[in-house]
Amino acid sequence: MVAEASQRVNPIRRGGVAASPAAAGLGGPGLYLALPTYVIVVVLAVAPLALLVFWSFWRYDPATYWIKPDLSFDAYQTIVSSGRLAVIIKTARIAVTTTALALVLAYPIAYFMHRLAGARLRMLLSLLFLVPFFTSYIVRTFAWRLILGRLGLVNTALQALGVIQRPVEWLLFDEFAVQVGLLASYLPFMIFPILLSMTRIEGSVLEASEDLGASAWQTLRHVVIPLTTPGIFAGSLFVFVMALGSSVEVQFLGGAAESMIAIMITDVMRVLNFPLAFAISTLVLALLILLLVIGNRYLGLSELFRSVSR
């Protein structure tokens, strides 16, 4: 019943769409103001990516050390035949795990910040979770090596407590360490979109739920979580993209045998197999664009972001 009520009201669809108050005063189209941004993004992002996709069907030319026009699916066949598909799948699996863990860890924090913390505590937590965005992920990842290593914080602490006699080796240079590093790097990317979608839920909806006798838990399950799906999806997409494209975490924390898509691309580029590098990138881009389109269509992703400017 509670869920039905929330669907009828659906505050996510409201607000944000209306023009901002400043718009009325400024008037007139501002296309020329937006033009430089459009040009930059198209020239530096969209066009190069399109070219990369296009060139993935060309063929390597040993004569020029570059590629020549062709319509060849060789690169794509190589992905499958050379076992590189396994790396792509493994990377996707690791990225999905990171995303799921980040969601489980971040949601209670966003809920706490929005519903239970006072204004000052909320501000403080926002600041503290904002800082990692602007610090070096190389440094933060490298620091985990010092935490998990033989002489690291975890081992010395466990030894001091007498839990273990000799340093534990499995902490570092395996998938566990990679997973920890990825989670620590990208967790904050999950918190803010969820928090944003929570602030868009109108208080009256929550009151209505409580007045109808729902417990806090029922309100969370049937009202808050369904209404924050755009935030959950946006956050998940952020973390997934970051983890999917990560390389530093694996290079610093993974074992010698560990590979990820980003490392594979740089390795392939090093041996000048350009079409293969482009083909791998194309597969990744196709997956991400698919996710973006689904997110926009079914979860109102751009609606969520639009609320930033309210």
Partner: protein, 273 residues
């Protein structure tokens, strides 16, 4: 009377949930903050092994060795130059785009365009730019790196400036225009002073995002390394404790930058209040 009991119960349960979640949030913060803090402390240990220094033996030995390494200094300078170029270009673009957004030309298209590069993995973005620059034979330099960094910093700068512009009241702008101010005058005398703290912090954030970016620069780097690229090489190869001092330096620069950006935003809030 019958309803008072459950109400008290639920408020007590709320208290408990609050306490538990606060402890939990602190735990997650420790997970994020302990590693860099631990490394910062280690960077002041004069010994060769990565141990915590004793308080009586704090030393800046590795920092002084670090700052005599010419390649490091050159990379540091390159990152500062790239960061400033990125911050300037990104901020101008973000201000213009935010103004356009307020005038409500096709908002969702503009927003999606600006935010799109955020969803492209850095390695792929860098690779695609590198092959495009190869076409007209543009030689990789700090400018090609700047091109990659702009894409990374633009969405953040745009969101920060847009958020600070949302505090603008339409009535102010209407009043200015009713009094005969041109668009430019309205911007210079009304919008800019009110939004300038947001612009300052957006520029600082853009600088930091560029200063710390590694994967977008990887394929775009020319003869001169940026600091993250230099640092990655040093960390991957070396066991010299100067890498802790290098990491420490970068953390300190980042913290100072973030502090300055937040200070700028705080000024705005106090002025608005």
């Amino acid at each position: 009377m019958t309803t008072a009991q459950p109400a008290a119960d639920s408020s007590r349960r709320r208290q408990w949930a609050r306490r538990l979640l606060l402890i939990y949030a602190v735990g997650v913060l420790l997970f994020v903050y302990v590693p860099p803090t631990y490394m910062l402390l280690i960077s002041f240990n004069p010994g060769l092994l990565p141990h915590l220094p004793s308080l009586s033996h704090l030393s800046v030995k590795w920092y002084s060795i670090l700052f005599s390494e010419e390649r490091m200094i050159a990379a540091f300078k390159a990152s500062v130059v790239t960061g400033i170029a990125t911050a300037l270009i990104t901020t101008v673009l973000a201000v213009l785009a935010s103004l356009a957004y307020l005038r409500s030309v096709n908002r969702s298209l503009l927003f999606n365009t600006v935010v799109f590069p955020m969803f492209v993995p850095g390695v792929i973005q860098g690779l695609s730019l590198a092959i495009v620059f190869k076409l007209p034979n543009i030689i990789p330099s700090l400018w090609t790196i700047t091109a990659g960094h702009i894409l990374w910093a633009l969405p953040f700068a745009f969101i920060v400036i847009l958020t600070s512009m949302s505090a603008l009241r339409g009535s102010l702008i209407e009043a200015a225009q009713d009094l005969g101010a041109s668009n430019w005058q309205t911007f210079r005398d009304i919008i800019f002073p009110l939004v300038s703290p947001g612009i300052t912090s957006a520029a600082l954030f853009a600088f930091l995002l560029s200063f710390n970016e590694y994967s977008r620069a990887y394929f775009l780097v020319g003869g001169q390394d940026t600091l993250p690229i230099y640092m990655f090489g040093a960390m991957n190869a070396g066991t010299s404790p100067t890498i802790y001092a290098l990491a420490g330096t970068i953390l300190i620069v980042s913290f100072l930058g973030i502090g300055a950006a937040l200070l700028a935003l705080n000024v705005r809030q106090r002025r608005a209040a």
